[in-house]
Amino acid sequence: MNLPPLIRGALVTADKDMRIYYRKAPVAIFGLLFPLFMFISFYIGRDLDIATFFPGFFAMSLFFTASSVGPLITPWEKQARTYERLLSYPVTILTLVLGDVVAGAVFGAVISALVLAVGLVGLGITITSIPLFAATIMAGCVCFASLGVLLASPSSGSPSNIMMISSLVRFPLIFISGIFVPIAELTGARRTVSYLSPLTYLVDACNGAMGKASQLHPAYNILILTGVSIVFIAAARTIQARMVMRGL
């Protein structure tokens, strides 16, 4: 198939990322174990209706998984000295950024699908609008995969530093985004701050798609997530272009 160079390069980059980086330990730790432990620590010992909190937990797992691959790729490539060769291929930095985003988004989507299957089969969760929910998952996966790639952009070849920075950014977002405290119960400055987090819109969209009360129409949430993704991708491209020499 004769694809345009940008799409072809992004797909080959994504395939390369999936083959190499999905098996790295930090992806399993930050993408799978962290959201699981966060759920367990919140749920165990408390008399909670899991179905009520399921949209929030689902959004949290999507957030962690989709954003866990991106921070690893560029620092790892720089550390392993493969980044310069990658740049010499017929690709631009935007191609590489898009490829990394696709790899993160696919990982997020696959793991989220498993979590959703558990919810649908084991907990009796219902989805009121499948198209909206599918669009929500897609927008969320792209948005948080883009966040992961953006976090890796200033890297100089030290994956551990970037993973630490990405944790510093991602953890606070969990607590201000209506996962543990519903957005409707937040007031004043706390509510304003929560709207600064893109995760808030994913949680709200998931609530809407799973028959719970949502603050915004799901279409607005999806639109905002898409807009934020574009900003993250553009920022990642600009920062990577400026910092291309760091760690080479």
Partner: protein, 317 residues
């Protein structure tokens, strides 16, 4: 010393660098570098450490954007037609390793896909390269289990899988065993014989002397010489030398009567730098007779590319 031929028709130019300048903060790493690389030639790019070689190569391969100047590949402006221009290149970066978590076969396939090659084309070409480079038997092993020489051979296979018309090689034989080095040089020659233009960056002066049609020497970020190796050597006639081994061995301080500009001791050899090798040979023979020494060997050495390189880059940090 001859300078680059600006009158070369564009159709004969595979790569043109025009007034390339790159600054990092207040430091100018590359200053107004211009040259043409002609189609089908092996072009050597030499310079001491920190001279600006790698920065120049990174600009020529589109990895770095110059602050000033342009690069064209087969007449295409590199930075406005980045992807199309890169499609014509194969690059072996100085530190560009391959993916150690993939096998040799997978690395080559991945590269072929980046260049838009079809499945069948990749399969045929990767098999050909794996056999040619002596990697076929271990093609499915992870690269992390390979020796340095084998990894470099995979790196070269990746760079030429799409049969580029312009091949950049940055220190391709650095630190390799003799067999790997010979295999790589033979591959470069074969590629060149089939019409591939080769841009070779190297520290190895002998390699440049043996392989290159022309060499460009860069020092402190600027081009200091660009010519055929033979022409560069002749420009430094005064650096001819005569090497003598006497038995019993004598020190340089004892050979003061031999006609020369300067004498150095290198192991058991005395190296007489001279502007008149004939006079030096005659006086060395006389010195041996008068001192009762046996001449074990007496060799006249013409000017070397290494001498020209040293003379041109003297005083570099």
């Amino acid at each position: 010393m001859a300078q680059e031929d600006k009158s070369a028709p564009v159709a004969d130019v595979a790569l043109r660098a025009s007034h390339l300048t790159k600054r990092f903060g207040t430091r100018t790493a590359v200053r107004d570098v211009s040259f043409d690389v002609y189609r089908g030639e092996i072009f050597g790019f030499l310079g001491p450490n920190g001279a600006g070689k790698t920065t120049t190569v990174r600009m020529l391969t589109g990895i770095l954007t110059p602050d000033e100047g342009t690069v064209s590949v087969d007449g295409l402006d590199l930075f406005s037609s980045l992807v199309q221009a890169k499609m014509r290149m194969g690059v072996i970066p100085e530190v560009g390793t391959i993916y150690v978590d993939l096998s040799a076969q997978q690395n080559i396939e991945l590269t072929g896909r980046f260049y838009g090659m079809g499945k069948e084309g990749i399969r045929r070409r990767s098999e050909e390269l794996l056999r040619e480079l002596g990697l076929y038997e271990r093609r499915n092993d992870l690269v992390r289990t390979y020796s340095k020489g084998m990894r470099q051979r995979v790196s070269i296979a990746c760079a030429i899988v799409h049969e580029p018309s312009l091949l950049f090689m940055d220190e391709p034989t650095e630190g390799l065993d003799v067999q790997s080095r010979r295999l790589i040089i033979a591959t470069v020659r074969r590629m060149n014989m089939h019409g591939c233009t080769v841009f070779l960056t190297t520290h190895n002066i002998e390699e440049a002397n043996d392989l290159c049609d022309r060499v460009c020497i860069i020092n402190n970020g600027a081009v200091v010489a660009l010519d055929r190796p033979g022409a560069l050597k002749c420009a430094f006639d005064s650096t001819q030398s005569v090497e003598a081994v006497f038995e019993p061995a004598v020190g340089a301080n004892k050979a003061g009567d031999v006609y020369c500009i300067k004498v150095d001791e290198r192991g058991d050899r005395l190296v007489f730098q001279t502007d008149d090798p004939d006079a030096t040979v005659r006086s060395a023979v006389s010195f041996a007779q008068e001192s009762g020494l046996r001449i074990v060997s007496l060799i006249t050495c013409g000017p070397s590319l290494e001498d020209a390189f040293v003379a041109l880059t003297e005083g570099s940090p």
